[in-house]
Symmetry: D2
Subunit: 299 residues, 4 copies
């Protein structure tokens, strides 16, 4: 079997290794000459025998959309494009329609597992037509973790379902990480707890809260006790925002996921929170602290 | 009429003025010689004719408790103590029992209005026996705003009810201020809005969100456009915490008031949020950003 | 002066009265024959002398958009359309562009005050070109509350700014109402508070939390003690959702406004919360309550 | 080795089995004659050779406190009591002091794992003196999961640390479960997702959100598709409340854990939410919906 892979960054590069290790030939394209196999998407197309499968693994938004637009011109009817990036699910219908007009099929595939996927395999959620998914199954099987297929792979629905599932996966991830974060912060603040890292480590086996994320948190604390080298500045890459927007669209009370998202926003307000400046200004107004604006009022 | 007033700080001092203006004689005690009328609580007691009314207006917690303990020794049976500070309502039963053993009555009175109370009158919520409240009514009438008594004064229940009401009042205040703060922050972030202060000012008349706090926010923005001189560091004086604790005790979902409280906590984490450091550390772990620990991962 | 008014529902009808009382001639159109002055938007146009001003006061979304489309065909260059409904601010650019192509001007105007606006005047926030706003000023002056113009009216910015401001106004309104709601619920749960309505009423004068909404809450409690006749089923009309979406777009932590929005969502889940069913199912799984699925587990 | 075990309910009974399987003799006491080995705590004491170890596994609060009080009278100097229930950590100092006066040692031990602990082993967090912990180590080793001791057991600190750690563990558990719950609810609401259970199942291997709780959720959905047999009524057993109270004490912004706790409160308001009744009443007031109190207002 043979496939094209567009985007050989950390995720794409590791995935190439894993797919090759499963005996599938991979022709990779990347703008960086030192990692690419071909010089352009057109050359990538030429290097593959029809009907082709091309996996796109580039940043979501315009980079992915423009890659798909170019592929719609270089590929042939009967070919198949898989978007494995973190695209917004609403992009999938646009991509699928564009390709469909040229007789090209489309699958969206959410990929989870981070850099550990190379070793452990990646959790995959895909959306698309059944025949297309079956055709790409050897690639999915190469990428997913060992063991039962259904424990690491799902054909969640039609085009868009894969990215939708990945979006919600990441929204949950925000909530899980923040729940551990709050618990860590409380433990760390309490003098009774003499061994915070040891306590978290103890939780990794037998307890109700055991998880892979918890194991990673223990690893992080072992590498950097007290997380002294870590800034609390936390970015977000879109899926958390989209999850809350979907919650609003479906009238789902998403207090936990939105709280985790908003905490990230707050972590990036380097000039301070305008909302809290307003609160502070109000306290000064009714407390009469005109001279010492930063002090507390006792109304 | 005659009364004693313990604590002549900003609140106590302004209240003394308002009570005197109503024709009531006030003997004040304060540790600061430049403002006090007498040298001690014992002297205060001597300076008043029995049966006495003594209003305590000192910081909550130990300062108030120790003042009440001393008064329980200097006052006589038939006297009345009013705690007008921001004591936790659970202190009231303790104070009342201590005084009752000496035949002294007790009223707890929540006082709201800040420095503006001198001019506008103070909103009052009190708890205690009906006869005691009636006895102190001329003082309450002096302090409360003009107009109908029920629009600025309430006898909310037995001892403790006044401080309970004031605690909830302040919890609501946290929520109201933060709601305005969030709205201000959104308006301020949106380029379409060319006149943020003007927009808030327009809301002060006719709209659903008009309030005294909104008028104060407009005043603050007029005095300090963009709140450039204000830090977002926001303290809390106890009532917000107690309100959330009471919500927990009564199984009340207090998402809004607790969010406002927690935002204040976050504003004071000068070394950064440990919870978000944990989140960031996790993102580094699964995103593999071992070299650039502060950057975002795209899993 | 003369104007057209499309939409004579509760809001539009009351506004017509207030504008007429200011001496402005109003020709109204409404699909209901018993209230309309003319039979169609075309007739409305004919009934007015050019250059015309037509105020649209119909439900947001398609009803408003289709009204504007029709007006773009019946009106003449130099006319002015004002959308006073609760349209999403992103509709304004579309409406303005459509009308501009025909030489027709456009103002968006957020209107607050509810049914009380007839008597008290309406708070107004508008967006558009300066000349257009000045031209419509007599109408705005008729609608806004008495007193200083800037305390009830703002020209917040270009087209879209008025509805943006109104959207945020309503988002804040969600937060304010829920803060009062939570406080009311805590007071109501606490036996110490013997007079909940009286306590809230006392807060309407002198306190920090006094506001028009608080006065309305007291009125509601006086009319229906314990709110026995009121369901907790609470709808939302869009602005709350949009406010949270804007908060996400601008990376503003909107914990309070979103909590108020989500509580409304939860109030409408008549079959129960799927999220909490999942939580309950999990507790059954690890607590082993296979036989009594609704009971609590003690792990 | 030999020990006493007080409380042979689901948790205690399973733990007895696991300890016995490790070759430790267990004398159990329970008020239910059909499961108990002895008739009273006095008989339990007599049945053991000094120095004794007695593990208490009864409901937290008064049941545990009274058991400890009785044991303080029946046991001898040199004996050791371990409280393995879900006691509040503040009870531990009281228990330890009471026993210490009689020369009896005390360990608090948080136990996690639910009914699965019998098979998998229990995660253990304990607080107490080093010598006491070492003495009870064979019991801890019998209960904890196989593998490295530190991955399922921690001596977290002095007396109280074990229950403190367990409390925070459960607080995190609230947040984790609710994050999954919200994600499940969004997936379930979205028509694109044709196989919700399959999607969750796919996440159990390879993804970032994989965990034991997720596996249990998949199991629950497989047993009861759509969770049709599950009520959303969700109780709480104390640790979630205490965790939020501790967050408040330590000024930790615990938005996620408190949101999860408050959602449980809301699930139990069978007469409806008083806060939302207040919001609804307010909307009626300014929207003028006096005749149709449950409908939405468009202000």
């Amino acid at each position: 079997m043979q496939m094209g892979l567009v985007g050989l960054g950390k995720m794409g590069g590791f995935m190439r290794t894993r797919i090759k290790d499963a005996g599938i030939e991979v022709v990779g394209f990347d703008p960086r000459p030192e990692v690419t196999d071909v010089g352009s998407l057109a050359e990538l197309t030429e290097a593959l025998d029809a009907p082709r499968i091309v996996w796109v693994m580039v940043p979501s938004g315009e980079p992915t959309r423009s890659t798909v637009r170019t592929l719609s011109e270089t590929l042939s009817p009967g070919d198949l494009v898989i978007d494995g990036g973190n695209s917004k699910y609403t992009d999938d219908a646009i991509n699928a329609e564009l390709l469909s007009a040229k007789g090209i099929s489309y699958i969206d595939c959410g990929v989870s597992g981070g850099v550990w996927g190379l070793e452990n395999g990646y959790g995959l959620m895909c959306g698309g037509a059944k025949a297309d998914v079956e055709r790409a199954m050897p690639i999915f099987d190469a990428l997913r973790p060992p063991g039962e297929r259904a424990d690491g792979f799902v054909h969640a629905g039609q085009v868009g379902a894969g990215h939708y599932a990945k979006m919600v996966h990441n929204g949950i991830e925000y909530g899980l990480m923040h729940a551990y974060g709050e618990g860590y912060e409380i433990l760390d603040a309490e003098p009774l707890i003499e061994d915070v890292t040891g306590t978290l480590r103890a939780w990794t086996n037998g307890t109700v809260v055991r998880s892979w994320l918890l194991e990673l948190l223990v690893k992080a604390l072992q590498e950097d006790p007290g997380l002294a080298e870590i800034s609390d500045y936390t970015t977000d890459s879109g899926e958390g925002r989209w999850t809350v927007e979907e919650a609003i669209r479906h009238s789902v009370p998403a207090n936990v996921i939105s709280a985790a998202l908003f905490a990230r926003f707050a972590s990036r307000q380097e000039g301070g929170s305008p909302a809290l400046k307003a609160v502070s200004a109000l306290r000064n107004q009714f407390g009469g602290h005109s001279v010492v604006p930063k002090s507390a009022s006792s109304q």
